[in-house]
């Protein structure tokens, strides 16, 4: 079942909503920088980014 989830780009950091079906593997592109290095945003990912941000 597809659900609206947030993805983020590992190239430019842009966050964007995507209709995502976990059973489906498809090509995804960042709408801002057109990179394919995009990843589903998870609480762990947000936490890790925030942590790195604080450390940085």
């Amino acid at each position: 079942m597809a659900e609206q989830v947030m993805f983020y780009c590992l190239r430019c950091g842009h966050r964007f909503p995507v209709l995502h079906d976990s059973r489906e593997v498809k090509e995804r592109t960042c709408p801002k920088c057109l990179s394919n290095s995009v990843r589903k945003e998870t609480p762990a990912a947000i936490e890790a980014r925030e942590k790195r941000g604080r450390a940085g």
């Binding site: 590992l10 190239r11 593997v25 090509e27 394919n36 290095s37 990843r39 762990a44 990912a45 890790a48």
Partner: protein
Amino acid sequence: MMDVGRHPRVELLTNSDVDEVSGFVGNFRVRIRKRARYVNESECTACAECEKVCPVSVPDEYQQGLSSRKAIYLPFPQAVPSAYVLNMDDCLGADPIACGKCVEVCEKKCINMDAEDEFLDVEVGTIIVATGLEVYDPREQDEYGYARFQNVITSMEFERLICAGGPTEGHLVRPGDRKRPKRIGFVQCVGSRAPARGAPYCSNICCMNTVKDTLLISEHYPDSESFVFYTDIRAFGKGFEDLYRRSREVGVHYVRGLPGHVVENPESGQIRVDVENTLTGELEHYDLDMLVLSIGMVPRTNGSSKLKELLALSATSDGFVMEAHPKLKPVDAPTRGVYFAGCVESPKDVKDSVTQASAAAARAGALLSAGKVQIEAITAQIHTEECNFCGRCARVCPYGAITAPNKKEKKYPMVIQAACAGCGTCSAECPADTITMKHFSDDQYIHQVDAILAEKPMEKVVAFACNWCSYAGGDMAGTSRLQYPASVRLIRTMCSGRVDEEFIWHAFETGAPLVLLSGCHFADCHYINAVTWTQQRVEKIWNQMEKLGIRPERLQLEWISAAEGQKFAKVMRELDAMLKEVTEEEVEETKKIVAEWQREKREKEAKKKAKAASNKEEALAGAGSAGKEA
């Protein structure tokens, strides 16, 4: 069709389905289910006596439901073989109390109500897939009122109405009152070029079909008027523009704009169409006797996914089967020895279908007449001693070239060398590392990584690029004289699916600041769907990187086609900029983290193996002592 039916070297199996396909190019074994026809086709003379006595009447599919047929019927007048067929879903049954009239009346006794499906196993060298397509169901676009108004019909229904073999013997009448329509409207692009409702692509034939219909109407009924509501008329192809011009010359009205509102007068059956003429910008109203919806074509749904699965075929985003190469191998399937003909590949007209069918037959004939096939040099090899029977290799192989293992029967997976295309996905996915690729071993990749990072690693991006798209994209950038930084060092792989997790972890462990994994776009993947495994693997690595406290940004993923030299150069410039953000401390920290994690992993694996070995020894010792006691 009759020529095919009569040909001494063609065995025609109608009313049949493909149940199983195994084997590989030159040696396919196909199991065919020949559905019970309940009529002996070699005995039936199509005398029609059975049809006359059959009391059942159901809508005739061939005539688009515009007339009826019996439960026992000839599918269409030119059917090959020319024999009746009994549809058991419609039949009342053989029990004489229920019916059984056809059995009684058939003098040749060729009706057998107890017939069952037959299974045939055939061995073939090549397979041509020509399963066709379906038409769009216009009920979805309710504004045209197809399901509500009797005099709104589809182009397929119109074809039957004007056909001499149709329900009206070619006399054009409207379904509502069987009167001849004098003002006929055609709506183009119903279900085509409509991403929200219908298909996003152009169905190719609808424009010319409508042009042909309008000419036919003007020739047979000169007092009739035709109106075509269109977005664009696409009349490409030999003689088509001329046909379109002739249609305009005979007075067919072409209105640029699609109807927004259609209503039917319940008493007169007249259709009123409101349309915005986009050339004049005005809202126009047309009173018509009949409206024909020019419906688009959609990929087959019935049985299509099973066939795709059996032949390891993949589909493009529009649902039609994907060719091995859209320009250079337009009739070849990615699975060797399988070819396409007709609308299974994309919507096309008769001429294009015949052309493609001839090409597919020639390709198949060339392969068969050669008598032998040249196989890939780079193929997978399984070293069974380490295999844990997980079966992952067989699951991920896009070609079905690996037989599934069976632990109970001690049956190891086996690579069918003639079917293996050498993508290496199995090798990358094997958790026990038991699969190696001939001429492209894991060690060769590891050494390339080592060589790249041997000097000034902080100035390098380790990039894995697939041979067919990304590496070729780099070539394109080079031949186009596009500038990109020298920091990116490419390692060519046959497929991005070949890039083992271990190559990436090794790069980080050796001090790579940034790693790029690049492959074909999903629709261009040279190895059917191997690229999907690449993406899943990268996502897994990103998750692991995060767990270990390594920035996932340091592993980049990019799909670059062979034509995208510009994109290749852009990505390389972006990576060069990202490289400057990675500090030496971060790389050193990563090296330590990965080395520690890899060490722990190796220890765990060693313990696991030792435990498995001791269990095996104990089992053997137990069996030995039991033997002695006995």
